[in-house]
Each structure stands twice: as C-alpha cells, then as structure tokens.
C-alpha cells in the first residue's frame, strides 16, 4: 500500500526532477516549524539553521520548510507529506510534533527524522535540544545586578521541564548576587502569541517588575519592556532591534552547527538516532552582544560565568538548592544530574506563585 502511494505521489509531483532526486540527485532535507518563520524567535532561528545547511552544501542538498504547523492533527499530515515527497532527513522542531514524528517514522523506515526537545527515539528518530538553562544562569546574574525594584517578571510558555529548569537556573543565579530579588512568573500557555505575551509583560511591569524575561518566541515582551523603559532579556534570537535600549542580552539558539553535522552524517552514511543535548560549549546557544549600558563589573561577572560554564567549572545546578517551601532539594557540593534537570517539576526559593500542575 505504502509503495503504491509513494509511486503515485512521485509521478504526480509537479517538478519532473523530483522522481530522479529520490534516486541519485541532491539529498532532500525538510524542516517543520511550529511558528511562522517571521516570529523572530524560535522558528526563525531554526530557519537560519536551514539556510546555513543550504549555504554549506550548495547543490548537494535541497531543503524544504513548512511553517506555522499546528501541533494537533495537522502535524502528522505535514510530516507524512514531506516523507512522501522524497525527503530523506526531516527535522520536526517543536515538542508537540513528537508523537506525529514517531508515527510517521514507523511507516517510513527509509527516512531519518530529528525531533527537537522531545524524549522519544526510535531506530530512525533522533532527538536534540540545547541546554537553554546555561544561558539563564548568565542572564540571572546580570538581572540581579541591574534590577532596582528587586522584582523580575518572567513570561513562561508551557510549564514543562525545559522552561522550569530555565526559571530555576535564572533564579538561583539571580539570588546569588541579589538575595532580595524575586521572580514572578506568568504562563501564557503558548509558544508564540504576541498578544498574550505583550499582555503578560505589561501585567508584570504593572506589578513593579523592572526586568522582563521570557521563554516564549515573539519579541513582544521586549517591545513592551522597551516602551516602559524597563530591561528585558530576549529569547531564541537576538531581539535587539525590538528594544535597543531595553534588551540586556538574549539567549540565542544556534542550530547551524548541529544541522550541518547531521546532514553531513546522512551524506556520509554515518547517521545514528542519537540524543543530543548541547550547551554553550557546543555552540548550540550563545549570548547576544551585551547592552552597552551594562556597567563594567556586571559585564565581567557575566563573561566569567559564561566562560566558567563552558569549561565546566560552574554548574548552573550546583547545591545548595532550596525549594520554595524552604526545604533543601540538593545539599552543597552536589550537582543535579541531567535526568533530574529533564524531569524538573518544582520551583526553587525566590520564585513567587505556585507551579501549575
């Protein structure tokens, strides 16, 4: 059945070259984005990675992308279409694409899949993500030094471990330099919703926050903070142009190196369904140029932390870690394991409000 359908899709393809591609032509690589490429955040950075692949491999690779794919029933169809269209490597770049990716992968053993931020793998599904929390540590130190009101606003997307570990890493660093500072979190239950993100930022500013952090994909919070003369921290992408006087720095995802290495692996036949979780030292994320208004001592503090994380002398989750209820979660001298970070479902001391669960 699959073979019949595949044959029919190939002959119906509008470009006569498509059929040849599958055999010997350039490697076809596809990307599925949850947001529009123009989100200037998460999906935008993935698309920069796609373009880096095109640039690096020239005529050896052809890429396709489908943007703004809903995480519901549509995802499976889009991924299936891409597999049927002869793509040999497909990157699905949002958590909600996990089960659709696994389902399609089971039907297409000849295609290799890469799912971002998920935990399910199979013989032809690899996973990858970045240690976003490493950037949060550096940003937390800066925010602790820069806040005057000692209230930090933090806009969360979904209360999943990836986001919660970011909030905790940020808060731990924040309170290391400023024990009086606290973090207030607003969940918008969306990755990309500029309207809700801006409303959340304004609500936090109204509560006295003077630094706005975000773990959502649009630059709306940076814009909202800029309008009120507050500081902000960008997310996924360098959002300087949306608030040149406001953005302290931004935690930028960089997928170029990973995508190029994975495409290379397919080209040289060494691709394996690996699980990659890279950080600052793997160049999977970096910090956007610091705001020129940062005082010298803050700059040095931030840079030292960044370098220390890269060479392993600073662990963002080193004990003592105290929970919201004042109980010790991790004693001094110990560090959290990767498994603990990937399962994180609590707030540390200094975060206000209750974790939705």
């Amino acid at each position: 059945m699959t073979a019949v359908l595949f044959g029919c899709a190939a002959t119906l393809s509008p470009t006569p070259a498509a059929a040849e591609d599958a055999a010997s032509g350039p490697l076809k690589v596809a990307f599925v984005y949850v947001g529009p490429v123009g989100d200037h955040g998460w999906s935008y950075q993935h698309d920069l990675g796609r373009r880096a692949v095109e640039e690096r491999f020239g005529g050896k690779v052809v890429t396709t992308m489908v943007e703004n794919v809903s995480e519901g029933a549509d995802a499976e169809r889009v991924i299936e279409e891409l597999a049927e269209a002869g793509n040999k490597l497909i990157f699905t770049t949002s958590f909600g694409f996990m089960n659709p990716t696994i389902k399609v992968a089971a039907r297409h053993p000849e295609v290799m899949f890469e799912h971002a931020t998920g935990y399910k793998r199979s013989p032809n599904v690899a996973t990858y993500s970045a240690r976003f929390y490493e950037g949060r540590t550096v940003v937390g130190l800066i925010a602790g030094k820069m806040t005057k009101s000692n209230i930090i606003g933090y806009i969360g997307s979904h209360p999943i471990p990836e986001v919660i570990s970011g909030i905790n890493a940020f808060t731990l660093a924040l309170r290391k330099v400023n024990p009086k500072a606290e973090v207030r979190v607003v969940w918008v239950n969306a990755w990309y919703d500029p309207g809700k993100e801006a409303a959340a930022a304004k609500a936090l500013l109204d509560q006295g926050a003077d630094v706005i952090c975000q773990h959502t994909d649009s630059p709306a919070p940076v814009q909202a903070a800029a309008e009120r003369g507050a500081w902000s921290v960008g997310q996924s992408s360098d959002m300087t142009r949306f608030g040149p006087n406001s953005q302290l720095t931004s935690i930028v995802d960089e997928w170029d190196v990973y995508y190029i290495s994975r495409v290379q692996a397919v080209l040289s036949g060494t691709w394996k369904p690996t699980d990659t979780w890279g950080g600052l030292k793997d160049k999977m994320l970096y910090l956007a140029p610091y705001n020129p208004a940062l005082p010298k001592d803050v700059l040095e503090l931030a840079e030292k932390a960044r370098v220390d994380i890269m060479d392993g002398t600073l662990n963002p989750f080193a004990g003592p870690i105290i929970g919201q209820d004042g109980k010790e979660i991790l004693p001094a001298g110990k560090t959290l394991s990767d498994a603990d970070i990937l399962r994180m479902n609590y707030y540390v001391e200094g975060v206000q409000g209750k974790l939705p669960r």
Binding site: T2, L5, A30, P161
Partner: protein
C-alpha cells in the same frame, strides 16, 4: 434562488483568477502554484483521505452553527464547545485506561456530545433567562474552555510517564476511531458528517421544527405571533450546535490525534463560521464549503512543500475567498445605480 448559488461559484472563480495574479506577482509560476494548491493535495488516495480528515471537524461544527444561524441564534463559541467535547470524551478514554472494551468508544462519543452541549447550554440559559447576548457569552466561554483544557493537561490528565510535558497518555486502541480506508487516516468521523448532513437537511426542509427555526430567523415577529416558543428554539439551536461541536472535538482526539495534547483544534470552531456562510447555511452547501476550506489548508501546505510558497498565502487566499463571496453576494442581491440624491427639505 439560482443567483444565490451562483455567488459562491463566482467567488471561487474570482479567487482563482486573483490567486493567479498573486502567484505571478510573487514570482512563482502561477499554473504550477494553482496545481500545487488545488490539484496535488487530492491527486492521491491518501490526499483525498486527508481532505476528509481535515473537513470533518469543520463540517460537523458548521452544520450545527448553520441551524442556529437560520434561527438568528448566534453561537460564536463552537471552538470552546469543541474543546469541552474533546476533554469530556478524552477524559472518559483516560479514566478507563487499561480497562476498555467495545463500549468505550460509544461512551466517549456520548461524553463528547454531552460536553459540547453542556458548554452551549450556558449561553442558552443566559439568553433565555437574562436576555444576555449569546454572541458574547459563547465567545467568552471559549477562553474559559481553553484555560480548563490547559489546566487538565498540565495537571490531572497529564501523562504520568511524560517527563512533565503537558499532554495525556496515548489512547488505547479501544478508544480510537476505526479507520474507513486502511493505510490512511480517514476515520468513521467522516460518516458522522454524512449522517449529520442528512439529519440537518431533514430538519430544515421537512420538519415543523425546522420551519419554526427558519421563521424565527426571517421574521421574528411573525414567529412570535404564530406562537412559536422562542425559548425552545434557542435551547434547541444551541444544544444541537454545541453537541455537534463537541462531537467534532471527540472525533479529533479519538481520530487523528489519539491523545489530549496542547493543541486540539487550530481554530476549527471559528473557521466553521466562515464555512457555514460559504455554504449558504444549507446542509449540503456547508459540507461542500468545508471541503473547499479544507482543500485550501492542504493546498497551502502542498504549495509550501512543492514551491516554497509562504504560508501567509493560505491566509490571503482564504481572505480573498470570503471577500469575493461577500462582494458577489452584494452584487447579486443589489443593483448598482447612479442616482441623484433627493433634494433636501
């Protein structure tokens, strides 16, 4: 009457013409783009099945809404009723996890319909009891439903083995809709559309209740004078549209999705309003309109894959379709005349 049916056809024709110009203007080969948009998605069995999958929730919601719109009952909150239906049905599936049987799926469908009805009953009650506008209440309840949905999947219904991610377990086979076509995702939800379409047609064209609904919409005073019970019609319209939206929701989660996830519907309940009007509030027309709308989504994806056409073009296309439909409507029903304004005084 014939002219009323020409307008949508004319609108589709004009949209096609304008899309040709748009594609050419964007620098894409217009004919290849039209092919990718309208032909390629449905030129395989799998494509046709996907069209059915995409059109099913749109048609179910639109059929219910259309009945209410005929009677001047404006349920704008089908999206929320769909969500509640999905949660109710999905909740049954998860509650019976590990102890299912043949009865599970019917129970889920019943729970889904009941969930949608219950959510629509609130605006119905408020409208009848307090003369509250059902447009506002049904719309606002959509956001309440979305928050309830978020709370459930972040809390009680979250997959215990899911690493804290906000989605439920995968449903067991007993809780999944049987497939109509093996090897595709076309599920028996498509048959529900056929049944609902026939029932809606019988109701509107052949029943006294349907007559009352139409009179209440076209001439409320005449309906009141004839002694038609306005309250009953409001209850009926909202419960039917809520029930069908709830069915659409449970069919989505028990069909193509197979779990409760963060996204159940990308706005089907709202798109269904467009579908209802595109289909002239006629049961058969609405199902056809659902297919056209579904094709425009599938075509948007196909055009992105085949030609790299930006996704925003799909939105522009749908906008043009509506614009031309409304324009054709106006021009079919009204004649443009040059008239001298009446003298003042």
């Amino acid at each position: 009457m014939a002219m009323a049916w020409i307008a949508p056809v004319l609108a589709v024709g004009l949209t096609l013409g304008a899309s040709l110009a748009l594609f050419a203007g964007l620098g894409f080969p217009p004919l290849a783009a039209i092919h990718a948009y309208f032909v390629q998605p449905i030129s395989s069995l799998r494509g046709l099945a996907e069209l059915g999958v995409k059109a099913t929730p749109l048609a179910l919601c639109a059929l219910g809404l259309g009945i209410g719109f005929r009677a001047n009952v404006w349920n704008i909150g089908a999206e929320g009723q769909l969500t509640m239906g999905a949660l109710a049905g999905g909740g049954v599936a998860l509650a019976c996890h590990g102890s299912g049987g043949w009865w599970l799926l019917p129970a889920m469908l019943a729970a889904g319909i009941a969930g949608g009805m219950a959510w629509a009953a609130i605006p119905a009650f408020l409208r009848n009891r307090y003369h509250t506008s059902e447009i506002l209440t049904s719309l606002m309840l959509t956001y309440v439903a979305a928050l309830f949905h978020a709370w459930l999947i972040h809390g009680p219904l979250r997959d215990p083995d899911g690493m804290g991610f906000p989605e439920s377990r995968l449903f067991e086979p007993d809780a999944l809709l049987p497939m109509l076509l093996p090897g595709t995702r076309l599920h028996i939800g498509a048959l529900f559309v056929v049944v609902a379409m026939a029932a809606a047609w019988l109701l509107l064209a052949r029943s006294f209740l349907g007559f009352q609904l139409k009179v209440a919409g076209l001439a409320p005073q005449a309906a009141a004078l004839a002694g038609f019970d306005r309250h009953r019609l409001v209850w009926f319209s909202l419960l039917v549209s809520g029930g069908l939206a709830g069915l659409a929701g449970v069919v989505e989660v028990a069909g193509p999705i197979g779990q409760l996830s963060t996204t159940i519907s990308p706005g089907y309940g709202f798109t269904a309003i467009i579908v209802a009007f595109l289909g002239r509030l006629h049961p058969i027309g609405m199902v056809l309109a659902a297919l056209v709308m579904a094709l425009s989504y599938l075509g948007g994806e196909a055009a992105q894959i085949a030609l790299g056409l930006p996704q925003a073009v799909t939105g522009v296309f749908q906008g043009m379709l509506l614009f031309f439909l409304l324009a054709s409507d106006v021009l079919v029903h009204y004649r443009v005349r040059r008239a001298t304004p009446p003298l003042p005084g």
